[in-house]
């Protein structure tokens, strides 16, 4: 058995040497980067969330290109170029936490972006708190992410409650008989948070919840839940989940001839893919909301100058109109940039303070964080799908049309 020991030892050594070589290569690359601000972005490039990661990467890349073209980020009286280290966390939250720690300790990034979604952002925020690294979360909207009052975490999404609340007065005005509400939710952090928010808002508005069920993350067949939902004859149906869930449920609703004056779905209708797959007829009059839409118009103090400027730059580089998936990541980077410029230094503590007191106009909308670090400074647009296009119903400033009732 002594042979086994020696053999094991040699395998162990080669693994150790390989790890060491990889490690030195990384640190050698860092040594020459002095006039560069390095950002870390853990992204789910492979696995279930990979479509989101591609959008995120494009959102970051357009920002990085524009900033570097303009000479870099203005820090005091000099300009520093931007570099983003991307790491794939395989759509696996524990791996996202590991990636965040690796970016801080191995890649020596100056600042961090959160991994995708509320759950992963929450898990990884424990690492950035520990290392005191200012971190901007592009897609963490659940207030629960911020409920332990993290000091270094800032989210550019307004709380979930703000997303649909403004639709209630509009719906009550246009449908005076509105009384019964049904909610069908994916059992997952973000959809559940949306569902809780709607439940509270509905009760506040004197409406009855006649159906409120959750479906499993892996659910494919919704028929029995939908027939129960149909039997409750709701005036307004809310379906929460991601694009694939929304599509599956929408198709099964049509199969069951489940109709209602109002059907609101999140997050599917925010993406062009939803209309492509559900068809123009299948998506007609469905309402939705998101934190940004290409229809909004803001002038900004960021590198893009305005919402139009952002859309044009994005279209020139990638050939498509950005949706909110792209824009959310771009604005996270923009917020960090503006905070660094305001602080005039890359000192983490000062940038953290600059983020906390940030009040900036961006192409995404005005960005300002509340005392727990979540943005509360803009009205997320509510829209309705008509003829396969989004028509903005709210806010008033960017309104494109009135609510239409009846979803078949």
């Amino acid at each position: 058995m002594t042979f086994a020991f020696r053999d094991f030892r040699s395998v162990g050594w080669s693994a150790a040497v390989a790890a060491l070589v990889a490690g030195t290569m990384v640190s050698a690359a860092q040594a020459q980067a002095k006039d560069v601000i390095k950002f870390g972005a853990p992204l789910p490039l492979t696995g279930a969330l990979s479509p989101e990661a591609l959008k995120a990467k494009q959102g970051f890349e357009i920002w990085m290109e524009m900033v570097n073209k303009a000479g870099g980020i203005k820090v005091g009286d000099r300009k520093m170029k931007v570099e983003i280290a991307f790491v794939d966390y395989q759509s696996n939250t524990p791996k996202a936490v590991q990636a965040a720690e690796g970016l801080i300790t191995q890649e020596k990034v100056d600042f961090l972006f959160s991994p995708h979604g509320s759950g992963a952002a929450k898990a990884a925020s424990n690492v950035s708190e520990k290392y005191k690294v200012p971190t901007v979360a592009a897609t963490a909207s659940s207030t629960q992410v911020f409920d332990q009052k993290p000091r270094y975490l800032f989210g550019t999404y307004t709380p979930n409650e703000t997303l649909l609340a403004p639709l209630f007065p509009i719906a009550k005005r246009d449908l005076p008989s509105l009384k019964k509400v049904a909610i069908y939710t994916r059992n997952d952090l973000f959809p559940l948070a949306l569902s809780q928010a709607v439940e509270q808002t509905a009760k506040k508005n004197g409406l009855d919840i006649v159906f409120n069920e959750k479906y499993a993350i892996t659910a494919l067949d919704h028929s029995s839940a939908l027939s129960q939902l149909k039997a409750a004859a709701p005036d307004w149906i809310f379906v929460f989940g991601y694009t694939n869930d929304n599509l599956m449920i929408r198709k099964q609703m049509i199969d069951q001839r489940l109709e209602a004056p109002l059907i609101t779905m999140l997050t599917g209708p925010s993406y062009p893919e939803f209309v492509e797959a559900a068809g123009v007829a299948g998506s007609e009059n469905i309402t939705g909301a998101s934190w940004w839409d290409a229809a909004v118009r803001y002038t900004s103090e960021d590198v893009f100058g305005s919402t139009e400027g952002y859309i044009k730059a994005f279209k020139d580089k990638f050939g498509i109109v950005p949706d909110y998936g792209h824009a959310s990541y771009t604005v996270a980077a923009v917020a960090l940039q503006l905070a660094i410029e305001k602080a005039g230094t890359t000192d983490r503590e000062k940038v953290r303070d600059a983020l906390a007191s940030l009040d900036a106009k961006t192409f995404f909308g005005p960005i300002k964080f509340n005392e727990i670090g979540q943005a509360n400074s803009y009205d997320p647009p509510i829209f309705q799908l008509r003829d396969g296009k989004t028509v903005v119903l709210y806010p008033e400033a960017t309104k494109q049309g009135d609510l239409r009732l009846g979803v078949k």
């Binding site: 086994a4 693994a15 395989q90 898990a123």
Partner: protein, 309 residues
């Protein structure tokens, strides 16, 4: 004797991780200890007894939630981890008593279903577990980066040492002998008077205890768990692969396999951004095809000798 030397070297080598002061390396070492606990535990039922259990994730999640919920109620870390072990022992004994009547593929599928079942329970018991919203585990007072990394590293390391000792004792004892008999021919084992139900159940329960305790340490280490993370099917599959790498049937092999796997995964993950999972998959397939008895049989392969399990 040599397996004790290997184990000693591995444990001492791992314990040196904090000397580097590199907290990321300590994270890797903590993970390696965690997976080593799981691989060695799996080896008790999967390797020694020959029952292919896919229930590792079930016990990991059970332990994580037991200890996590206790921690939110203010119970101290060592107590909550011990409680996770006790709960897992009882639950595993009950599940084992029922499921160990099945063999081969049937047993594998039934244990896999246990993972799904417990995940759904964690998902729907929203008041207790937070459901899909996840569970926040309160941070222990701000210890500082290095102290916190050391605390969880040594917790996991201690757990690994304990697991290794228990596994080696079991392997050498009457229980280990009985389990080997059951693997080779269960009917014959019963004929010579081995109470197979008792021993199988005991092995299954033991295989759950340390995994659950590792889950408990993990939960307080990451401060936030959700059902999808701790009942992840990968937590079931990876320990099996690690045991395969080390050579099925030997707990020291399983521990070495876990460390080799974690090191290889890290190197590949760092160097191949988009295709790391694919390369790891290919490596595993290659290992199983060309070195089916694990790294422990490497010297025999090199000398061109036939390998017998």
């Amino acid at each position: 004797m040599s397996k004790y030397i290997i184990l000693g070297v591995v444990l001492v080598g791992l314990a040196a991780a904090p000397l580097t002061g590199d907290t990321y390396l300590m994270r890797m070492a903590t993970l390696a200890c965690m997976y080593a606990v799981m691989a060695a535990s799996w080896n008790l039922i999967g390797g020694l007894t020959g029952y292919p259990s896919f229930g590792t994730a079930a016990f990991f999640g059970l332990g994580a939630y037991t200890s996590g919920i206790l921690a939110t109620l203010g119970v101290a870390l060592p107590v909550s981890i011990a409680a996770a072990g006790v709960v897992a022992f009882v639950v595993a004994a009950i599940i084992g008593f029922i499921l160990l009547r099945l063999k081969g593929h049937y047993f594998a599928i039934a244990t896999l279903a246990c993972v799904e079942l417990l995940r759904e329970i964690a998902n729907s018991a929203t008041d207790l577990t937070g459901g899909g919203m996840g569970l926040n585990i309160p941070r222990n007072a701000d210890l500082g980066i290095f102290a916190e990394a050391s605390l969880f590293f040594f917790a996991m390391w201690g757990l690994l040492a304990l697991t290794a000792v228990v596994c080696l004792v079991v392997e050498r004892s009457k229980i280990g002998f009985a389990l080997s008999c059951i693997r080779q021919a269960e009917g014959a084992a019963e004929m010579i008077g081995i109470n197979s139900t008792l021993y199988k159940t005991l092995a299954f329960a033991l295989s759950g205890v340390f995994v659950a305790m590792a889950g408990g340490v993990y939960a307080s280490w990451v401060h936030y768990i959700e059902p999808g993370d701790v009942f992840d099917i990968l937590l079931t599959i990876k320990p099996v692969v690690m045991a395969l790498i080390g050579g099925v049937g030997s707990s020291v092999g399983a521990i070495v396999g876990a460390i080799v796997y974690i090191a290889a995964e890290e190197v590949i993950w760092r160097n191949y951004l988009d295709f790391s999972s694919g390369i790891i998959g290919l490596t595993v397939v290659g290992l199983v095809l060309f070195l089916p008895h694990g790294l422990g049989s490497l010297h025999l392969r090199l000398r061109g000798k036939a390998v017998t399990p």
